[in-house]
């Protein structure tokens, strides 16, 4: 819908522009190369959905636009000229290559009147379009280009918030068992029996990666069990903020388990920010301390397999979880249990066993249902068009598909 409005705006601007600029047709005569024609139908509008300071200039290609084959003199690009009065002086504000039909002049001052013309550049100068204007740039309070993101975001968020709220009110929810998380208890128990430590790796990214946040929250629940079992946990981190957060988390877990005295900051230590330096150290810890259980929860890159293979060689039980699609195969291959993508983010809610947290899992399911429904709708519309050749299905399908378009 917003698209249509913008079209109307564009058209009115075009006609306005042409109407106010007919007098400058003389500019055409300046053309040094009679064979080349200027860009057509030049128009300029305030760039939509921006913070101001930008005007978008648009045009239709010169009929002599370079098409990649022609040998003759062709337009190799468009020079965008700007002035603060219709009579000039015009100065270049940018260059767009052949085939381009728009240029965002991001050097405007809001509220100033600007006039534009576009030169079709050839190797030797080029013809100039009529002057258009005035145009002003201004900032907007809502980015209409992203209205669809806003709406879809609201729908998905609301479905999650709804179930958090309804679970908080005491509605019982069923959550299936997740094998990797059921195994956490057993894995900690095993380490306790063997009298060996537990190694917990919260990924190698900083706290600005949401997977690290997931990893640290899972650590909170794992540490609670560890505190109850009175087992030793070791958390080497590759980022300082993660170190601080992990300490807070584990400390809280020990307090919650009623054993604040058993907590020591030494459980969490910083190694190095360097990915492979960190891995070198973790491998060292593994072969020397021989942990009975290794957890890998967070964002991982290539080091995933180095750690998982070393962990495997010392016979540790390994539970991994990551949302890095490229690393999942290695964890699946080398670990006993792997939380795949979404399961990583669900894990802390699952382990917490708090109704409102579990409610958000139900909300996620509803989100998936909506996603599937959306795919199905679009697929059906387009398929109907293919089968029946009724144009309406195509239009409806395209409209629907554009809902997910990022501008």
């Amino acid at each position: 819908m917003s698209r249509r409005i913008s079209r109307i705006i564009v058209f009115s601007l075009i006609f306005g522009g042409i109407a106010c600029c007919v007098h400058s047709g003389a500019a055409l005569a300046q053309s040094p190369d009679a064979a080349v024609r200027p860009p057509q139908n030049v128009r300029a509008i305030d760039t939509r959905g921006d913070e101001g300071g930008s005007i978008t200039v648009m045009w239709d290609l010169s009929p002599d636009d370079y098409d990649g084959t022609a040998e003759a003199v062709t337009v190799i690009g468009y020079e965008i000229m700007r002035a603060e009065s219709p009579g000039g002086p015009f100065a270049s504000v940018g260059f767009a290559s052949a085939g381009a039909t728009r240029f965002a002049d991001a050097s405007t001052h809001d509220g100033t009147d600007y006039y534009y013309q576009v030169t079709a550049s050839t190797s030797s100068g080029g013809p100039v379009s009529p002057v258009i204007g005035p145009v002003r740039s201004s900032p907007q309070w809502f980015n209409v280009n992203r209205a669809n993101v806003f709406i879809i975001g609201i729908i998905l968020s609301m479905s999650i918030i709804f179930y958090i709220a309804s679970a908080r009110r005491g509605k019982k929810l069923f959550i299936r068992r997740i094998a990797g998380l059921e195994a956490v208890q057993e894995a900690i128990g095993r380490a306790t029996e063997m009298g060996r430590p537990i190694l917990y790796i919260p990924g190698i990214q900083d706290m600005d990666d949401v997977q690290t946040v997931a990893g640290v929250t899972i650590l909170g629940y794992v540490a609670r069990t560890i505190a109850e079992y009175d087992t030793k946990i070791e958390v080497p981190t590759s980022r300082s903020i993660v170190m601080s957060t992990a300490r807070e988390t584990i400390k809280a877990a020990y307090i919650a388990a009623g054993r604040p005295d058993a907590y020591s900051d030494d459980a969490v230590h910083y190694v190095t920010d360097e990915q492979f330096g960190y891995v070198a150290a973790v491998d060292g810890i593994m072969v020397r301390d021989k942990p009975a259980t290794c957890f890998y929860m967070g964002a991982f890159f290539a080091e995933s397999l180095i750690m998982a293979e070393t962990g495997n060689s010392i016979g540790a039980i390994q539970i991994a979880g990551t949302a890095m699609p490229a690393q999942l195969p290695f964890f699946v291959a080398a670990c006993d249990y792997t939380l795949i993508g979404e399961e990583l983010f669900a894990a802390s809610a699952y382990l917490s066993n708090e109704p409102k947290q579990l409610g958000s899992l139900k909300g996620q399911d509803v989100g998936k249902s909506i996603a599937m429904l959306a795919i199905a709708t679009g697929v059906i519309l387009f398929t109907l068009h293919q089968v029946t050749r009724v144009q309406w299905f195509m239009d409806a399908g395209n409209w629907f598909k554009d809902l997910f378009l990022l501008n």
């Binding site: 975001g153 998905l156 600005d208 150290a281 979404e342 139900k362 996603a371």
Partner: protein, 229 residues
């Protein structure tokens, strides 16, 4: 400069080669040489990153603007833009208050900021680039005809397979439904698709990993031992 002398270059190559071999010795078993390389690695890499943060983030992003702001203030025409930098400066200092037991609780403020920032930012980026883009790419007809109107059975089948596979995979991720009966069978199909994805990624990766080692071997043989051209 002295560092450009051939001897120094050779020395650097030898150091690099010995460290390379030291790390590789871990493949046989843990040993003192590996431990030595590990210690070197941890030390210099931690130092390296701190130096990088210092020169490339702290000074240009915080130090310089603050100094410029202070200069403008004392020169009589203050520019207030840099004032906002007192927020991260304050949060950064709060972070350090952990070192003092009494004020340690204040360090949760920057942590709260960091986590809030991550949650807000990632919610939007993942919504856009994972959810919306994938949905958009998934919307396509499962029946295809060519320009002349002939039915494209193979293309149609492939698109149908992608659509079915995506659905089945999503079924697997359902948390609030027991994987039983018909639902369970679809979810199982979903795991098969996931397994294909993992198998494919794994198989595809082997090549890249080999090339890394080739790079190291190339260094040892060509740059260090000079036995190959």
């Amino acid at each position: 400069m002295w560092m450009d002398s051939p001897n120094w270059v050779t020395f650097g190559t030898w150091v690099a080669a010995l460290l390379t071999l030291g790390i590789m010795s871990f493949l046989y078993k843990d040993n003192k040489v590996y431990k030595f390389c590990e210690a070197v690695f941890i030390g210099i890499s931690a130092g390296y990153w701190f130096v990088s943060y210092f020169w490339q983030t702290l000074l240009p992003r915080l130090g310089d603007p603050l100094v410029a702001g202070a200069k403008s203030f004392f020169s009589g025409s203050p520019i207030w833009g840099s004032l906002v930098l007192f927020i991260p400066l304050g949060l950064g200092v709060m972070m350090l208050l952990r070192l003092i037991p009494k004020t340690g609780w204040l360090s949760r403020w920057p942590l709260a900021f960091v986590v809030g920032y991550t949650a807000g930012l990632r919610l939007i980026t993942f919504l856009q680039s994972n959810a919306m883009t994938q949905l958009q790419n998934s919307v396509q007809p499962v029946v295809r005809y060519d320009a002349a109107g002939g039915f494209l059975a193979w293309e149609s089948f492939n698109i149908l397979l992608v659509t079915v596979g995506t659905f089945a995979g999503l079924f697997y991720f359902f948390f609030s439904k027991e994987h039983k009966g018909a639902f369970g069978r679809v979810a199982r199909l979903g795991t098969w698709f996931l397994m294909i994805t993992f198998g494919a990624a794994f198989g595809y990766t082997v090549m890249g990993r080999m090339s890394l080692l080739i790079g190291r071997l190339d260094f040892l043989l060509a740059d260090w031992l000079k036995v190959i051209g």
